[in-house]
Symmetry: C2
């Protein structure tokens, strides 16, 4: 009665997507215990087969060195036995997290007696497109498996050997636990065309999550017909209000900018209310200088810079929109909280903005007017993180408004369905 689609004539990517869809259907009704067993098997297998993975990783590193890749990127690419142990430990942490699938989100008995329940279900097939961090291969697979989703992994070509070795380990462990091995697949083909096919596999792939730099994310957003969750670009702001504790403001500024400048929740722009600027900026510029931060200032900041140890260069328009990810910060003096909000609205990537203030009204107004995934009051921008928020794990930080916003944990990897139960109810 039903005929399957002409499977054999499909491209390898489409075939993989079909297999993923089949695996997802099998995973969806599984109880937590079976998924947890598979995750524990993955953690064990990673430790047992560490040398296979390290060997494969060595080939990627050799190739990267020959291509003149920077040591920073090679460091990200490198898997040591210690790092693999840490990855396995992260998988065990996922085992400890509650299973979001089956949670009743909303439920009621309708006036006609029908029972209505809205229940969390897996998304289905999740595609992850990412750069040269092979740890993402395992992290993403573990989170998808726990939430009942099949995953299609498309890592960077430069990590192809490492990812292939990791996925072999993952598939063997998943299959050995009695779950479908096709729940975890590396997208076949090590070329641009395979990414393109993945992005056009609407109907087979339920969501794509690009993890990486701004240009990767832009490409996926522009070319994908599969729904995309944008992640990770963070042009975060720290605004120091007219009334603020100066020490607190310095602490939050330096922590937000310099505790770990390479991550998306690091601050990239400082905005200072003009009333506090004469007292705050001299201290702030010295503290930034001490932390090794170059300041890209507007005219008023430049004026304060003359009497400080800080390196202050003139800001161009580009500085307001730059995610430096380095020991640089843009800085401007603003006439009011409202002007700070205007500046943020115009230039932010919508990730995280912080206000430092002693004024309850200012805190309330700033949190109302600023529309980013996270608004921090008297706290560092660095707290926007699934681990810090207590989600236990994070598949990324969504900077879009649809489906998920901010740090995404396991519930963000689910959808819902309604279950309507009657006794022969018909509509009048």
């Amino acid at each position: 009665m039903t005929t399957l689609s002409p499977y054999d004539s499909m491209s390898p990517v489409t075939q993989a997507a079909y297999r993923a869809k089949g695996a997802a259907a099998d995973l969806a009704p599984l109880p937590r215990a079976e998924k947890d067993d598979a995750l524990l098997a993955i953690a064990d297998a990673l430790e047992v087969r560490t040398s296979d993975v390290v060997e494969a990783n060595a080939k990627d590193i050799e190739r990267a060195r020959a291509a003149g890749t920077s040591e920073t990127v090679i460091d990200r690419l490198t898997l040591t036995p210690e790092r693999i142990r840490a990855i396995a430990s992260d998988v065990r942490d996922v085992v400890a997290l509650p299973d979001p699938v089956g949670e009743v989100v909303r439920g009621s008995t309708l006036p006609n007696g029908i029972d209505l329940r809205q229940v969390r279900v897996p998304l289905g097939v999740v595609g992850i497109i990412y750069e040269a961090r092979p740890n993402v291969t395992v992290d993403a697979a573990a989170l998808c498996l726990k939430s009942g989703n099949a995953v299609l992994l498309r890592g960077s070509s430069s990590a192809y050997e490492s990812n292939s070795a990791l996925v072999r380990v993952l598939r063997d462990a998943v299959g050995g636990s009695g779950l479908p091995a096709d729940a975890v697949q590396l997208v076949p083909g090590d070329n641009r065309e395979s990414v393109r096919e993945l992005m056009r596999a609407r109907g087979l792939v339920d969501v794509l999550i690009p993890r990486g730099g701004a240009s990767l994310i832009r490409t996926v957003v522009q070319e994908s017909t599969v729904p995309v969750i944008e992640t990770g670009t963070g042009n975060c702001h720290v605004y120091v209000d007219a009334h603020a504790d100066l020490d607190m403001a310095i602490d939050i500024l330096i922590n937000s900018k310099a505790q770990r400048p390479s991550v998306c929740n690091a601050a990239e722009t400082l905005l200072v209310h003009q009333d506090i600027a004469p007292r705050f900026l001299p201290l702030a510029l010295d503290a930034l200088a001490e932390a090794g931060v170059t300041v890209h200032g507007d005219e008023r900041v430049l004026a304060y810079g003359k009497d400080s140890k800080a390196t202050v260069v003139e800001a161009t328009t580009e500085d307001w929109e730059t995610e430096y990810l380095s020991y640089d910060i843009a800085a401007a003096v603003v006439d009011s909280l409202e002007r700070a909000v205007d500046h943020i609205r115009l230039w932010t990537s919508g990730h995280t903005e912080a206000i430092v203030t002693t004024s309850q009204q200012a805190a309330r107004r700033f949190t109302q007017l600023v529309d980013s995934t996270t608004v921090a009051v008297n706290a560092s921008t660095r707290f926007t993180d699934g681990g810090q928020f207590g989600f236990g794990a994070e598949i990324g930080i969504s900077t879009q408004k649809l489906h998920a916003r901010g740090p995404m944990g396991l519930p963000e990897l689910t959808s819902t369905k309604y279950i309507v139960t009657g006794d022969g109810h018909i509509r009048r």
Copy 2:
């Protein structure tokens, strides 16, 4: 310090989107009372200015008649004083609904003492692309306004005069209430290019909701870089299990198919377990015949058809995927519940599937295995509806898994943001 984008050189659609974005920023922090006042002003103005709207509508109707448009479509296009009163009354119903904005979705105090709250906020700018139903203009604007969103309306060219007149009334009422009139805008330009621009306005428009036929929705999904919520295609199934109350099964089948065949939650395919087919199908075919329904049956259904009053024609592969929206139904006999599920998975649009059964195990298994927005047990498919579900209003029925699934009420027109409050907390 901050320079605005070169506004004057923008296309009219982009300008409208920028104005919408500005209006959305103003709407977001408004309390419920101010939005409700504007909605009441809209309802009053629609009644006061009914004749303006009817006059404009007459021009559209005249044009449609001259173009040989079918009477069904002309009926949908037509606005009478009575229909406008009903539309105004719907707006008043929206006033009575709770405001989703500001709802705390999740909140906790983190181990370090930071207070974390996840709060509902408007999506921002919502684009609606729809066909010749001018009532959607007002419905959509009212729901968007209530949820703090600005709306960009792009109706069918054939309703351009009606929509223009309605939007004039809406904008005057909104502006007169002290809210930004640009919260409600008709997308300028009555051509394909303006739709295209709307679909590419990523960063200005937060979500597009196409409402209409399958081809409209397909176009928007394929061409849009703005995130899209797919709505409305319903290839719904009724499965009659091996053990089922025959009368209940007949009632649910006929209600699902024939109570209102033109809507997305009407049934399009009947699947019957082989064990009950000899008793159920003769009754079902007679009942369908009585309701004026033509049956497109597989071989086994055709065999039963010979002894019935029903019109039974041979089903082709196409029938399994067709959303008839008419007095037609596809029908097949299946060997088991699992084969019914396989059939549904292969052909469904993922809207609503119903099972009729007396078996608790069968009900449980069907609801677990079927992955559609709504799974009905012993109830008509026709209940999948925002009004029936008690949401009070509905902007559409999402058939996708991301963001919203099933009937979308006011909460589905919101996103969330996190508010992190500390006392100078920094990350160690």
